[in-house]
């Protein structure tokens, strides 16, 4: 291969991740000078983005949609609280913490990695069980895990303050910090996807039997993705904790589960671009819906704002997408270098991120 061809190939293969990072960075840059409310919205979007990318790393690559990945968000957030609340405050807020937990204090990147690490450790144990189950059973088992984590968080006063609000977490997450982590996470997800493990997993996603026949061990591959997913979602928990400064167990339950799944599905479950695009689009939409929720006037008619309207609108939106374009906005494809699909006439798809062409129908019999 000539140097020129090598360069072109390198560009083509990194384009998806580079373009995603640029898009996200651009959004943050553009809003940099904006109002504080706008900054908050952007930070929230970025935190959600990290969560959705984490969700994608497992769900998108293995095809198993886990209804409980936000358990790791909870674990990450509570770990963050324990690790980063100044020791003196901790003694007051969490008087019954066991010795070493009471004394430890981290901040910045080590704290984030530690929080993610704790979540990953939990993911190892949970994953050993979950990754043996078939798709539907695994999805629901994860929902059971979500309920379990929620229950434990609500009752384990010594560590989580039970159902009382966890307060006092240092607020350090600015749009810049969130952006940094978002980019890191996107790159990690992309590298995983392109790695041998990622490819094997995606083969299994398309056709479980075919993958097994070439020696792919599905539980083992899923396990790796599961733990990585737990790690990333744990970091999302860290970001959430250090953005809000305070939270309760309800922050990690059905609402966020729905939001993140909606983002992934609307964007396109099968691609990293889908996760990112979904997070951006849904954040935009919820902002729009939220402003409607506060009430608005349309000509002579004024609509009173009501709580819950934005959730309804989001739910309605996801239903429409599922009916009309079930593969999501990106249709499971990554952003590609070259003329967009609607310009390209019917050529064979270039080899790349679609490992195996989507075979939705059963194989023809005779």
């Amino acid at each position: 291969m000539s140097p020129r061809e090598a360069l072109a190939k390198g560009w083509r293969s990194t384009f998806p991740v580079v373009s995603l990072c640029l898009i996200v960075a651009l959004i943050v840059l553009v809003t940099m000078g904006g109002s504080e409310v706008l900054q908050r919205h952007v930070t929230e979007m970025l935190v959600n983005l990290v969560l959705v990318v984490g969700l994608y790393v497992f769900a998108g690559t293995s095809g198993v949609l886990s209804f409980g990945q936000m358990s790791f968000m909870a674990i990450g957030a509570y770990s963050t609280a324990i690790l980063t609340i100044p020791v003196v405050q901790k003694q007051f807020l969490l008087p019954d913490l066991p010795g070493f937990l009471a004394d430890v204090h981290l901040s910045g990147i080590p704290a984030a990695v530690a929080a993610g690490g704790v979540a990953a450790v939990f993911a190892v144990f949970i994953g050993l069980v979950i990754c043996r189950l078939s798709g539907l059973a695994a999805s629901l088992a994860m929902f059971a895990v979500l309920v379990i984590v929620h229950e434990v968080a609500r009752n384990w006063d010594a560590v989580t303050r039970g159902s009382r609000t966890m307060i006092g977490v240092p607020v350090t997450v600015t749009p810049g910090v969130a952006l940094g982590w978002a980019l890191v996470v996107i790159v990690i997800a992309y590298l995983f996807q392109r790695s041998a493990s990622g490819l094997r997993l995606r083969a299994s996603r398309e056709d479980e039997f075919a993958a097994r026949s070439i020696g792919v061990s599905i539980p083992r591959e899923r396990f790796g993705a599961f733990v990585l997913s737990g790690f990333i979602v744990g970091i999302g928990g860290y970001l959430y904790a250090q953005y809000q400064g305070a939270f309760t167990p309800n922050a990690f339950f059905t609402h966020i589960t729905f939001i993140t799944i909606a983002m992934l599905v609307i964007g396109g479950t099968k691609s990293l671009s889908g996760a990112v695009v979904g997070a951006i689009v849904v954040s935009l939409l919820t902002n729009l819906f939220n402003s409607i929720e506060d009430g608005f006037t349309l000509g002579p008619v004024s609509f009173g704002g009501r709580d819950g309207l934005s959730d309804m609108a989001l739910a309605a939106f996801i239903l429409i997408i599922l009916a009309l374009r079930p593969e999501g906005i990106t249709k499971g494809r990554e952003l590609r270098w070259g003329r967009p699909a609607w310009l390209r006439r019917r050529q064979a798809a270039p080899p790349g991120d679609d490992v195996v062409p989507a075979a939705d129908d059963a194989r023809p019999a005779a």
């Binding site: 095809g63 949609l65 229950e151 739910a315 599922l322 009916a323």
Partner: protein, 294 residues
């Protein structure tokens, strides 16, 4: 001894309730491969209908509530599920999740997030003395209703034309259509039947708790899903059995767990569920191979 009997009655009663819920979910799942997250919200709708009709005599209130639930169920099928019919399991699951979420939010918009009190006739939840036992009439009614419903169901499925068509569709939807079975008829029938169950469950649940809230259905539906799966996907009797066992297990945990661990009862319950899922992935009742022929 009396204590144990009390517990057994509680276990049977809760088990019966869960069996009914599981049946409602399994009915739809068997035919359409759809785990209906929104089933909990059907129960919620029943609850709010009871609230809305609270000034009517009980018979009308109950029948009206059931009618509302059936209507809602048919509408939901038409609007939300028909467009995605035939899609893969993940899309269906997310669709039902979205519907569930939409309905909960709708309830919050219309009724507010706080629970509302609904008082049903006192004979529903009275304390009866049977020998040395104190039994709530609701326990007996629940068990009685469950038995009647399950038997009626079994007869319906076995004998009636629609029942046979539904069983055929549950085994192989495509082949049933090749035999002239109308897809829409069977699916709507399933939604109607499961809605009837949801309505009945709503009455029982409201009689017990006395309140309705937007989230009243969510915890129940998880039980139903789990029961459907541990009972063996595609088996109605397995689902009912699974529901019954979960109810009994819940009461057992409540009784047997030491005081300090009791708040974690649900955590233990779902832990047990995960264990069952791992140990018996095909469900407790072995079903003819659900795995497609390769």
């Amino acid at each position: 001894m009396t204590q144990t009997l009390q517990h057994v009655i509680d276990a049977v009663s809760l088990g019966s309730l869960y069996a009914l819920i599981a049946l409602g979910v399994a009915l739809i799942f068997g035919i359409m491969n759809l785990l209906n997250f929104a089933y909990g919200e059907l129960i919620m709708i029943g609850g709010y209908a009871l609230y809305f009709l609270r000034d009517l005599p009980f018979a009308f209130q109950a029948l009206g509530a059931i009618a509302v639930v059936v209507l809602a169920s048919v509408l939901i099928e038409r609007i939300a599920f028909r467009p995605v019919r035939g899609a893969n399991a993940a899309v269906l699951l997310v669709t039902s999740f979205a519907v569930s979420f939409a309905l909960q939010s709708l309830a919050i918009v219309v009724f507010g997030a706080r629970a509302k009190g609904v008082s049903l006739p006192s004979w529903l939840d009275d304390s009866l003395a049977i020998g040395s036992l104190r039994v709530s009439s609701l326990s007996l009614i629940t068990v009685g209703v469950a038995v009647v419903v399950l038997v009626t169901f079994a007869i319906f499925l076995k004998r009636s034309p629609m029942g046979i068509q539904m069983r055929a569709a549950a085994e192989s939807f495509g082949t049933a259509r090749l035999m002239g079975v109308k897809a829409n008829s069977v699916i709507v029938a399933a939604f109607v039947l499961s809605a009837l169950l949801a309505g009945i469950v709503a009455i029982l649940v409201v009689a017990q708790g006395g309140t309705v809230s937007p989230t009243m259905g969510s915890s129940l539906v998880l039980v139903a899903f789990v029961a459907t799966i541990i009972g063996g996907m595609g088996s109605l009797s397995g689902a009912a059995l699974g529901g019954f066992l979960l109810g009994a297990l819940t009461v057992a945990l409540q009784v047997l767990l030491p005081e300090s661990l009791r708040p974690y009862r649900d955590a233990f319950l779902y832990g047990a569920v995960i264990v069952i899922l791992v140990v018996r992935p095909g469900g407790l009742v072995a079903v003819r191979s659900a795995l497609e022929r390769v």
